[in-house]
């Protein structure tokens, strides 16, 4: 009796000791720093050599661009450029820079802007094509710069808002070369203080940031927590203040936690099934439309995405110049069967669909598509494929159907149109090989028409043509759930998928 009591109390003492030790360790790590959990680490902070989201997101925190998207993603607002004018012929852009300083105290000058953009257009840049339409830079004085184009190229202004157009200090980059990016200096709201690869990036406030009173945080750390469950648990346990990439099925249960608030970001992303229009029967328009009529998009959105999506009308999500007159293909099995008959396959056919391995939502959606299409006699075999192989497989044309998605780095529909609808351009209409001469023409026009209703009409027509031509099964535009503790205010994931930290306040 007394022996068992002793053991019990020993265990209890050990337990309490461990508890004290752990709370001491946790308290030590917590010192008024905003801690954000993300799924993967950045690879580099060189803006012209980045293409993965984590790198891009960090760059947008530490560097500024001439202009930047507004928070709601509907227009461009001033960045380092206080104001700008575009000549009526669309071939001359004048920017007036504000009095901004880099984090080391040096002023941001027009020469830095010219240097950074020339670098972004250079041979070493992965993004050169986005900036090469600018053919000359004229540094008027420290605060004024004029850029000239040989022919009008309307998307250029949006390209200047991209991370790859970040303004770097010319002197430091030239003096340090690649070493600059180990201790980068920018004029953004934060400074990258240290980076433990695969673990976390520590940011501190840029004392010289030009927006008065911002950021309110002294420091932030971006912690890599690859596992979805761990990220959610760490938020619940208070080891993180906010997380992005909350799985749809966990967003609901997180809402019931009294210490946590869940929000959704309407990101520019579109999910669709690519149809290889060079292969029968997908070469037939009626068949492609039939597949669109056979799908119950609302059920998929409700059942799998827990309502966090809008049904798609075309391959462009709701963004600038959206065609509001288009309606998504409704569920209409009779019409779908009728169209199959017109397409010469009245009894359906057998086919296969590529699905990215390791993406739980994609797997569930694929099964739902499989079940829906079976109702019109189309038997779909699901082929799971490693995510990195899927793009090259569809690119090589070695597929029939493929469940995929596309996202936009800019708030202008030009990028997604060029990628998903124009052939050849960049990707042969997202590898479907579908081609509409009319659409290609509109794309060329849109790129030389100044922003305004005229350009809007062109985009609306492009969307209508894509909807009609149905090179995809149009699925939905999902929103992205993210969560933070109730002690956090002002944390937001933006439509371009990156997050803003400059307005975050920790209570």
């Amino acid at each position: 009796m007394s022996k068992s009591f002793r053991t019990g109390s020993a265990v209890k003492t050990g337990f309490i000791g461990a508890l004290l030790l752990s709370s001491a360790l946790v308290a030590q790590a917590h010192a008024a720093t905003f801690r954000l959990g993300v799924a993967s680490d950045a690879l580099t902070v060189d803006p012209i050599a980045s293409s993965d989201n984590p790198s891009i997101w960090t760059e947008l925190l530490i560097y500024d661009q001439l202009v930047r998207p507004s928070k709601d993603g509907t227009k461009l607002e001033p960045g380092i450029a206080e104001s700008w004018t575009v000549s009526p012929d669309g071939k001359e852009f004048r920017f007036k820079l504000r009095d901004a300083k880099f984090s080391d105290g040096a002023p941001v000058t027009a020469a830095d802007v010219a240097f950074s953009l020339k670098r972004a257009a250079g041979d070493k840049s992965e993004w050169g094509r986005f900036f090469r339409p600018i053919t000359s830079y004229e540094v008027v004085d420290d605060h004024n710069i004029v850029m000239k184009l040989d022919k009008p190229f309307t998307p250029i202004l949006n390209n200047l808002a991209m991370f790859s157009a970040s303004i770097l200090p010319q002197k430091l980059v030239e003096a340090q070369g690649a070493a600059f990016f180990e201790h980068p200096v920018g004029s953004g709201p934060f400074v990258l203080k240290s980076w433990s690869r695969g673990q976390k990036q520590e940011l501190v406030k840029n004392p010289n940031y030009w927006e008065k009173g911002k950021p309110s945080l002294d420091a932030a750390s971006i912690e890599v927590v690859p596992e979805d469950n761990s990220r959610v648990l760490k938020l619940k346990a208070g080891e993180l203040d906010a997380i992005i990439g909350v799985p749809f099925n966990q967003a609901e249960s997180l809402k019931s936690d009294p210490n946590v608030q869940v929000s959704v970001a309407p990101v520019f992303r579109i999910d669709l099934v690519q149809l290889n229009t060079t292969k029968a029967p997908f070469d037939n328009l009626a068949v492609r439309q039939a597949l669109n009529y056979a799908l119950d998009k609302d059920a998929i959105i409700k059942g799998i995405l827990r309502g966090n999506a809008k049904p798609a009308t075309s391959s462009i999500p709701v963004m600038a110049y959206h065609n509001t007159e288009l309606k998504p293909y409704p569920l209409d099995l009779a019409k779908a069967k009728e169209l199959l008959k017109q397409g010469g396959v009245p009894n359906g056919f057998k086919t296969s669909m590529l699905v990215s391995a390791g993406d739980v939502t994609a797997r569930q959606v694929a099964s739902a598509i499989q079940a829906s299409l079976k109702k019109i006699g189309v038997e779909v075999e699901l082929q799971t494929i490693e995510g990195s192989s899927q793009f090259s497989t569809t690119k090589s044309g070695n597929f029939q159907m493929s469940l995929s998605y596309a996202t936009s780095d800019t708030i202008d529909p030009d990028q997604l149109v060029g990628f998903t609808a124009v052939n050849p351009e960049r990707a042969n209409a997202f590898h479907t090989q579908w081609k509409s001469e009319k659409l290609n023409e509109l794309y060329a026009q849109e790129r030389t028409t100044l922003d305004g209703p005229e350009r809007g009409k062109q985009f609306k027509e492009i969307e209508a043509l894509t909807h009609e031509g149905a090179p995809f099964i149009f699925l939905y535009a999902p929103s992205q759930p993210y969560a933070s503790r109730k002690t956090v205010s002002g944390f937001e994931v933006l439509p371009t998928s990156n997050y803003s930290l400059k307005d975050v306040v920790l209570k």
Binding site: L25, P226, S388
Partner: protein, 313 residues
């Protein structure tokens, strides 16, 4: 002296093994569909952009030329530059090496501490309730997938009773140990399931040997018989099991590293394969191979220390 000579000769034997491994790793990667340039540019690149980047990365050269450059890098004591990270591979790899070594080392220490007393007790008291309980517990532990067990333990010991952090690696040595305790324990459970069984049956076999009777007959106390004679003679097979299992764990930490967010080699390997970061994957493969050989070397030295009949030559 002989140990030093032995180690050097074993490391020299490693060279042809490593050459073979580099060839296989090199070719396997190139057979996989997907190439780094396409993956990096993705939706944004035109075919010309992708071709230009491929040239810039040196991936348009003939395979054998690329392979020779890779060997040249190794000969200079570097693995070249990572395609994804755009930086020298050496420092990136070393930074990730420590968490993995700490995790594997800690789990092995825990496994040994748990195995020795339990195996000895269950061997001496075989058929007892404790013997059956231990057997049942470790078979059950081994049957559970590590990621599932990991999540369960996190729920219990990090959320309900917040003793350990949910995941991460920490910044200081005590914090590292605090963060690694749970994952190391989970790996150790799997190791123990094997080593306890192996050591227990070895001890039972040795207990029946004539020299044990002799030791007892000459009046040695039971404690001395068990630890000096029985235990030492039972260790050989368990050292092999431990070595083989530890080599396997080094390559297999990726699941635990992912669940617990430990910035180790396993998670780096998976990310690098997804990005088709050829030089990084090659560097990691060579590193893993060297680690496995080193563990086997340690096991050989262990044999020699335990059994004087084994000579290091």
């Amino acid at each position: 002296m002989s140990i030093v000579f032995f180690c050097i000769s074993r490391l020299l034997q490693l060279v042809p093994v490593l050459l073979g491994i580099t060839v296989v790793a090199f070719l396997l990667l190139r057979v996989m569909p997907g190439d780094p340039a396409t993956l990096m540019l993705g939706s944004r690149g035109t075919p010309e952009d992708i071709a230009a980047l491929t040239t810039q990365l040196g991936l348009d050269r003939p395979l054998w030329v690329q392979y020779l450059f890779f060997l040249g890098d190794i000969a200079r004591g570097s693995f070249g530059r990572s395609i994804a990270y755009k930086a020298e591979i050496g420092p990136l790899l070393v930074a990730r090496l420590w968490p993995t070594l700490a995790l594997v080392g800690l789990s092995t220490v825990i496994a040994v501490i748990v195995t020795v007393p339990l195996a000895m007790y269950t061997a001496v008291r075989r058929g007892s309730l404790v013997d059956h309980a231990v057997k049942f517990f470790f078979v059950a532990a081994m049957s559970m997938p590590a990621f599932w067990l990991g999540v369960l333990l996190v729920l219990l010991l990090a959320i309900v009773f917040p003793i350990f952090p949910v995941s991460g690696y920490g910044d200081t040595l005590p914090a590292h140990l605090h963060h690694l305790a749970l994952p190391a324990f989970i790996i150790a459970l799997g190791t123990c399931a094997l080593t306890i069984r192996s050591l227990r049956s070895a001890i039972i076999a040795v207990l029946g040997a004539d020299y044990v009777d002799t030791a007892r007959a000459k009046g040695l106390p039971e404690r001395a018989v068990l630890w000096r004679h029985v235990f030492r003679n039972s260790l050989m097979s368990t050292i092999s099991v431990l070595a083989v299992h530890t080599s396997w764990v080094i390559g297999g930490t990726v699941v635990i590293e992912t669940v617990f967010g430990i910035p180790g080699l396993g998670s780096l390997l998976v990310a690098s394969i997804s990005a088709r970061d050829y030089p990084m994957v090659q560097g990691l493969t060579v590193t893993f191979a060297v680690l496995v050989v080193i563990i086997n070397l340690l096991a050989d030295i262990g044999y020699a220390l335990v059994d004087p009949r084994v000579s290091l030559s």
